[in-house]
Amino acid sequence: MNLTDYRRTARAWLVANTPSDDRPQGDPTARAKEFMAKLYDAGYSGITWPRQWGGQGLTQAEERAFAAEATHFTLPLYVFSIGLGMTGPTLVDRGTDEQRARFVRPLLRGEEIWCQLFSEPGAGSDVAALQTRAVRDGGGWIVSGQKVWTSVAQYADWGLLLARTDVDVPKHKGLTMFVVDMRHPGVTVRPLRDMSGRANFNEIFFDDVPIPDEHRVGEVNDGWSVAVTTLLHERLSISAGVGMGGQKDNPASVAALREVLDTSDPLVRDELVELHIRSRALALFNQRLAQETNAGVFPGARGSAAKLLLAELYLFQADLATRLAGPASVVGGHPLGHALSLAPGMALGGGTNEIMRNIIGDRVLNLPPEPRVDKTVPFKDLKVGTQT
């Protein structure tokens, strides 16, 4: 099938099968699983993944064609986003054949939901400083510790878990990756509310949870290299989305603000011009990166610039909009007040602005690295987390 036909067929399928936007009755996860099964059966799940493990074995071209059509629909895929974007690709890249055979197809068909368990309260930007322990127990492992910032954990059947297996070596060298059963009674999932009041994340507590050695991904103490694979996929899936969602539903966009503000005031007008300039500058940069990607030039670390700029734009525009709108914006659940509460999220998730600036400096501009004090010290002697 040529690409035009592929795209036309995909559109027709989406029109026929996407659930309507009306607020549905019943369990949203059950509906999502039902849709995912249809998507899989139609051949639109795992388009570029190997056929052997349940994918379609097609190219980026088909994937992009489907994605382009899908932007016109709201697909109920949220609970699968971690599995499809991060843990699944990691298993395809680094899992054993047994693991691929066991996990990939149910993931692509939406039968099993996945979460990712890397971050900890003491290990945010510095993931490799994590303290969750996995100790040998006969042929398997026993895990204890705490994870945080975990999306969709409340629905998850399986988690991709990074844990410390050796404290006598430097921090990157004593980690191992596992698949953990999120339904085990030793796993406790607690919702974590963010500053806007929403509970989009969870804290996870592991209390002597057993893991069979067959669920180890990669070699013992080689977990960091597996995690790097996962984080690469994470960054790809974030930067693919960065700035593409557009400003359509953003109450702090120029388009929305001009409807509610007095633009006969030259100062108000000039502030909107400034917002327009910044928004357009970033949107055009994102379009340029996308055109480069389509031309086969992968943006790499330059995507961090787009992420940093988006984080700054969110902060700038919610702040500006509330200043312009004045007192009404901070009461009655005003959308601009809500935007202000959400604004820091982009600057704190997926790497802080400081981390982004380090990446740009180190990997785009090739500046000399900072001296590192944490690469050679055995983990047990290293300062980590919060120390009072």
């Binding site: 702040d319 009461v331 998730g349 802080t352 010290v377 919060t386």
Partner: protein, 347 residues
Amino acid sequence: MKLVLSQEQRELRAAVRAFLGAASPLPKVREGYDPEVYARLSGELGLSGLIVAEEYGGAGAGFAELAVVLEETGAALLPGPFLATTFAAIALAEVPDKELLTAIAEGRIAATLAQPSIDLIADEVAGESATVTGTLAQVLSGMEADVLVSPALTGDGVIMVAVELAGEGVTRTALETLDLTRGQARVELAGARARVLGPRTEGGVGDRLAVALAAEQLGVMRAALDAIVAYAKVRVTFGRYIGSYQGVKHKLADMHCKLEQAESIVRYAAWAADESPGELPEAAALAQAYVGRACFEVARDHLLLHGGIGYTWEHDAHLFYKRAKTDEVLLGPPRVHRARLAESLGL
């Protein structure tokens, strides 16, 4: 011009700080307004009457002292009607009828002040009494205050009135507020009984409100900066305290520069309110224009520098961020202060 605190002012600061540290720490702030704390602040510390003239039962102190106190209530994110009552007291100082001022000084009532736009109409004005109708969209501490002070339109011009908020003809609706530590309410008056306080007086009331608010903002930003500086000394990433990275250190240095300037401006504006009425309009507009902005920027950066933990509901960082934004727009969109500054400079 006096920009440094006297020994007495430093003692006042220490006393208020110690009281709030014990009576209203941040975990308690999350539970909202505690009338008991407000009663002790008025009673034990006599702060509700701080700037009320002695002849009306107050301490007769100036804005220099008021600024010291509001800086501390700001730093503590004190919930409840203390700022609103201060606003009302500032307005009441300018009307002939001083009875309410005495009630405030004695801690008998908490009050609040309507925004400068005139949304109420007074009918049946007869001597000290009138009936008032209209809707106030946002009244600071409107659920907690006992009395509303407001301008109202009559056939003869604008007068100042006071309305018992628990009285008949008054409907109060608590508003959902971004600021989780201090409420606002929508207040509808339908022929509510009002006390006539006298003709409306301008007399720099708006300027004094601006100075009082700036003092609170100074406290909010100071506490936010203190919190993130403390965290930068204990939080480790990549084997080093985060405060040792220039990416963090230099930002904290810039925040410190803003704080130094904000404090200088607040002291100046408070001095002008007390001693130099001619300078007050410019000083007050400057205070809101600079301190309001600086306070939000510092609160925002203090939140961001906390990293992920600062984005959680359980952490206090967002309480400062939200108070700072709410304060920034409390007296109107910030451009009004810049416009008043331009005007006072004759630009």
